[in-house]
């Protein structure tokens, strides 16, 4: 038995049966689709800064509907004055989150990135009008579940390539095994 097989069993993915594997796959793809939808409406080049709409409007809620004072200061002093760069960072982050979680490649790393991103969104818009703060708790927890389940090993590229990476002595293969 390889080390890779042993660690997969430790996560219960092999012993859990079809239902567990199907649910694990569904959680990963479902979370990926949430991030893909999120990337969809961040429209460059201004990201709504010129019209006070879109990403700019939602980011501005961190100042007008404060959730956590240090975060409000960070958004007011650093994010809003450099909004175009911030917009691109958000668009590329969420697009990459959607892409890698959809593929199931380096899944555990990207799930942690998702936790960080969802936390930032929660700190920004939880107190905004018509927002339910629990939504972002759920998104954080869903990304944590993808991390905990190592969900890319079920129906994902991690599951296909981990045996290949296990046979390789290269540094990249070692890192990819750690983050999958």
């Amino acid at each position: 038995m390889t080390e890779s097989q042993t660690s997969d069993q430790a996560f219960g993915l092999e012993s859990g049966g079809k239902a567990t594997r199907l649910a694990t796959f569904a959680v990963r793809v479902g979370v990926a689709l949430v991030w893909i939808q999120g990337a969809g409406w961040k429209t460059p080049p201004n990201f709504g800064e010129d019209t006070g709409s879109g990403l700019y409007r939602y980011t501005h809620y961190a100042v007008t509907h404060e959730v956590f004072a240090p975060w409000t200061w960070f958004v007011r002093e650093l994010v809003l004055p450099n909004f175009a760069a911030f917009g691109w960072l958000v668009l590329l982050s969420e697009a990459a989150l959607g892409a890698f979680l959809l593929l199931g490649l380096a899944t555990r790393f990207w799930a942690l990135v998702g936790v960080v991103q969802a936390s930032a969104i929660m700190l920004t818009v939880s107190n905004a009008p018509s927002e339910f703060g629990g939504t972002y708790w759920l998104l954080i927890v869903a990304n944590l579940a993808v991390f905990a389940l190592a969900a890319g090993r079920v129906g994902g590229i991690d599951g296909v390539l981990r045996p290949v990476w296990a046979r390789s002595s290269g540094r990249a293969a070692h890192i990819l095994r750690r983050v999958s």
């Binding site: 969809g40 460059p44 080049p45 697009a95 959607g98 296909v160 290949v164």
Partner: protein
């Protein structure tokens, strides 16, 4: 067909299926419409309730590149898979360069950046692993 090639075929099939769905929703639009037809549009028109968006041209390019990758996976021609991965990478660059502008000839939105990135990276890493695997097999039989 090896496990790696089956995975390449599966990634290619995702591109083809989404491209065909895109072509169906964009069938009545101009060939290079800047605002494409939306897949899975929600009735309440919330800005985040949408996934992918295509003009007929964007959908056809997605289908063609997916078909190229599928052919490469099926025939064991890695060069075709690499070409398809490169094509999808260029599509991702197109999204970055033209999304939100009037010359958005593929009619895409940000979600398409995820899709094209997934197809490009997925095909690339699988084809590279296939190259490494073949080299290892040749090395062990030499």
């Amino acid at each position: 067909m090896t496990r790696l090639r089956r995975a390449e075929a599966a990634v290619a099939a995702v591109g083809i299926v989404i491209g065909i769905c895109g072509l169906v929703v964009a069938r009545n639009l101009e060939f290079t419409a800047a605002t494409g037809g939306v897949l899975f549009e929600r009735s309440d028109d919330m800005i985040w309730g949408k996934l992918f968006q295509f003009s007929p041209l964007g959908a056809i390019v997605t289908i063609a590149l997916g078909a190229l990758a599928l052919l490469g996976a099926w025939a064991g021609r890695r060069a075709l898979v690499f070409m398809a991965a490169g094509g999808f990478a260029l599509c991702a660059v197109q999204v970055i360069a033209q999304f939100g502008r009037e010359d958005n000839v593929f009619g895409v939105r940000g979600g398409n950046l995820s899709l094209f990135l997934a197809l490009a990276v997925g095909l690339l890493v699988l084809a590279l692993a296939d190259v490494g695997n073949s080299a290892a097999v040749e090395g062990s039989t030499a």
